[in-house]
Symmetry: D2
């Protein structure tokens, strides 16, 4: 694809004198997957962006990124077409192995890469064969990649060439737990019982993900061997020894993750202490909302929004808590967080294109 995509669904250029600066040239690879289509829809209304190329990662035919966006057309991917579009920033919504192979080439070509796969999330190269099933060819990029849990990023995003956008489950859990890290008793298990809508598995032809099998159904999966577990552990700095238990479940809904998190504290905490701990981190975060003590969020509060909500209930005199967090797995768990990162990297308002 040598020419700019005719991005007819985007906000009219006339609406957007915001960015006096020249617009960023952006390409998306994997625009036809569930996260990719969400990302495309957001970027098409970004006032500081020229969406110069949209690629499907798997399809061989030209077509809309999704039926609901008939004017946003993706092309079959070729590396040559990507280069020819001369993007400054490339979002990769591609399988792990594809991202691992593509990102270094794009960096070499001088582009900035925001990768939505897991290819650059783990710091330790030796974990890739175990958890992702492939040997990492570029171990030093693992050290360079910025883990883009936006609310925990500062100046490093501005200098980043490569952002590893967090996994959906880790986002839901880390936002809930990191502010309380100081108080968590590491001698007790931290139990993360997470439930995700089916879009988390991607678009695929698999009888186990067919409507007939999942309608009215519910199940746990990946106990003890889900690749998001080492990512959570790494970001919580719990160490190998600490008893983190992560159980993923498949909810019969299209989108959204709700994580129910069970923690013990080293000493009794008050509701005010918990509330304050969250406020210290999220007071000015436009997309994280902490509910008053004792109120727990529902999935629908955040579905189709870029926001996370967190609620908690103290138990046993404050020595334990049940924390519930909700996000839309395709937005805060993928596409909208990628845009938050993009906005911070290039000095746009963090909320640009997101509200």
């Amino acid at each position: 694809m040598n020419e700019p995509v005719p991005v007819a669904d985007r906000v009219d250029a006339a609406a957007a004198p915001v960015a006096a600066a020249p617009k960023k040239r952006v390409a998306i690879v994997g625009a036809t997957g569930y996260s990719g289509a969400e990302l495309t829809a957001i970027m098409a209304r970004h006032h500081g962006v020229d969406l110069v190329a949209l690629f499907s990662s798997s399809s061989t035919a030209r077509g809309p990124v999704t039926p609901a966006l008939p004017k946003l057309i993706a092309e079959p991917f070729t590396f040559e077409a990507l280069i020819a579009a001369r993007p400054e920033v490339v979002f990769l919504c591609t399988p792990n192995e594809v991202s691992a192979e593509l990102a270094p080439k794009l960096l070499d070509a001088g582009m900035t890469v925001i990768d939505l796969s897991g290819a650059f999330r783990l710091e330790e190269p030796s974990m890739y064969p175990t958890w992702y099933g492939f040997e990492h060819e570029n171990p030093k990029l693992l050290g360079e990649a910025v883990y883009g849990l936006t609310e925990y990023c500062n100046g490093e995003l501005k200098k980043a060439r490569l952002v590893a956008n967090p996994g959906c489950y880790p986002t839901s859990i880390l936002l809930a737990l990191r502010p309380l890290n100081f108080a968590i008793d590491r001698e007790q298990p931290v139990i993360c019982d997470s439930k995700s809508g089916v879009s988390g598995a991607g678009k695929k032809a698999d009888v186990n993900f067919s409507f007939a099998e999942l309608f009215g159904n519910f199940k746990a999966y990946g106990v003890g061997n889900h690749r998001h577990e080492p990512e959570i552990r790494q970001q919580l700095h719990l160490g190998d020894r600490a008893p983190l238990v992560f159980v993923a479940h498949l909810l019969p809904v299209h989108r959204g993750i709700l994580s129910t998190i069970h923690v013990g504290f080293t000493h009794a905490m008050s509701e005010q202490q918990i509330t304050d701990a969250y406020a210290r981190v999220y007071e000015n975060a436009p997309f994280v909302r902490v509910l008053p003590a004792g109120q727990l969020p529902e999935l629908k509060n955040v579905v189709n929004t870029p926001r996370a909500e967190i609620g908690f209930q103290l138990l046993q005199g404050g020595r334990r808590a049940v924390i519930v967090s909700v996000i839309d797995n395709l937005l805060k768990g993928a596409a909208s967080q990628a845009v938050q990162n993009f906005n911070r990297m290039f000095d746009f308002a963090e909320t640009e294109a997101l509200i």
Copy 2:
């Protein structure tokens, strides 16, 4: 309430002594599909049956017909194994082409065949290439096969070697329309707007039938080219000229069909006339219930039951009607109707194993 409840749905005491006669040796091929598993569950509680063999039609591994019936184990199919089990009656829950090939061999081996596919439903051989995509090798069996819309079968079932069990959409439509055939104006279109749960498409790995694509979705399909259309036309004896319109839709539920049928009458009909016309056919039918005029049935009335329900609303002074019929596509639209036919063929109570 001072008197015993008239518990008409309970197992009839008269149905029990059946078992005195030697039991029928029965095999099921295709027991692991959605209809096959329902059929297996029913036949496993039939007092007059020895279930001598259960075969998957596609799998190469031994396993339960369905996770909810862990003790009913299907084997990979081989013709030799089927013969070795010496069944007297074989139910085929197999793809059309497989049934077309298998049934003649089983008949030659002296077995009785109840086929749940479309392989023997159309009377006219020349229609098979057009509607089913294959040339029928045994055109004379099309003449012999008994079309098993049970409520319209009489003595012919007792002599049948081969039963063509009706399609799910045709069952829902024919039960509603055939009693009114005498009054329908054939100069006006008969419009059948049918909606089916996803299990009607069978168990398959196809992204278009994935949960993520169908959740919250709804669509029409097969307009003008659905293979159930000639089956309906044939059984209504409308002729080629009469304007039958059949539109199938995919409902985001697991099971059940609701057909909304629009007909005009040659002269104004009263509610009593319609009610009487239905009563003439269904008065003693244990599995068809006609609601009082103006009441329309819901899908949930029949899901997981072997029953059909029919309701109607007269319009335009009785010159037109909207008729709504509901069935469970896997039961009255497939498995339980096959068992009704079996029961009639071998002189069991029609309700045996079904209530």
Copy 3:
């Protein structure tokens, strides 16, 4: 509520120098219903609007219009608070009777009213007792109200004081049928078999609309007595005699309407003729998309979008057609169409705040 709502979720004022003209002062009554919340979300990002007041129509407590928009707060409604907010334009997302009573008062106070209820949709006052159950107090407003099926409105919107926003079912049917009106055979029944998501019934405590009753269920309702039927008939100018049949169904999804429409033509039509007829009306319509002949749209194409999609399949040599149209009942069937009308009334781009 005497002070402007702190509309924190809206697009930052800095983003919007678009409207050099002073912003329109807008209020919404009934902002906490399903349509009202959608409308509020859209208007909050409108660059030419000051959202000066948001009212719940039923609640007595202050709170978010919906959990997904926690910063958009609705107040309990009082007429005094509405007046005090000095809106220029008021959207009414209120029950029919409430709109019928409120609109005249607002017009008297010099405000412009866009009513999303059915209170001003029928031209003939005598139909209100029959179809809506109340006597209309302001029959002459029925003559004045502009029926806001946007694609069929021209200059009249610019002069309108009162807009009757169309019903959801009528929108889905009229967009599909009006371009073909010239060719429709009025001696044959026009059959509209429509299916709507549950949000169409509004937010209510009713066991018949409970999750437990509707999950996996499907039903027809309102045959021959749905209040949208006279609205469709009036807008199609079919006359009382023409045999229009409208059947509504309750789909087990949250949102979206799919109408399957069966019509006969006075003479055989070609695909090109149909395509051309649609193009004449919708060529420049930003929110109506007609698919190529033989392709039918799915609900998911339009859910959560302000767009309608229409597809058709010719039958019987072009003498009949099946037409399928889809909209989101809460958007093109309510809120976004109201905003299209607003945009046209006040010379904003028709797409402002909608893409």
Copy 4:
């Protein structure tokens, strides 16, 4: 497959001659609720039962217990009508307070009572005001009532006048945990993260249980204050001190409970040890199935069946486990367990009417 299928799910031939003994006269109060209708459907096919009376607990009109069972008619409840029907056994599917008031009267009249409410589940009278909101009038019946978790009942059921049928959540948790009680480390929290279909809340008009609010939604509720928590604690004999955490969630499905249970052991357990512990209790239990180590059951395995399934995954070298159990909340969690108890009380095969 050369040999007859081992059809273990089929009706046991031995179960038929039951009917020789005089049938038990049985009444059901609350037959029109979700559990009541399931119970009625089961008892209507019980060979040893005369169903002498069916009562709605709330309705004032005569009508079917559920639309899917049109011939099973419930009457409005009066105590006089119940007495007049002369039942020997009465099932109460009534609200807690109604059961608490009704049961003593029925016992006084010489009847046997199987209560599906929570009115007699807690042994300690003082807990009723706290957890159920009413003062118990018959504290000594709490001592007499047999807690009917069938697999843990022995001779006591045969002598019972009053059975307290277990709660749905407790059933799913107790079946999974009681066999491992000996090994559980009571210094670590036992965490029960349970998810239930919406039918668990009963049939009610409440906007929070409306389809529009729950479709695509998911939430936790009752943290720290669910009345099933003291019931679980009591039956596990954990004592007040042990850190049991129970979190209920509302799944957007009609029926079924999946409990994800997190426990630590006092010492490392092997898969074989866990498997053996379960086998000791459930080897001959017809309705409890324990999966091989490392396999976890799905909801659909048990929905619409009277069975429970349990699976486990050891973690951290056997020092912890994740245990997943599934039941149908309306069957093993209510109606079918009540029938298991009835069958044991009156010497019927435990599986009578249930397979």
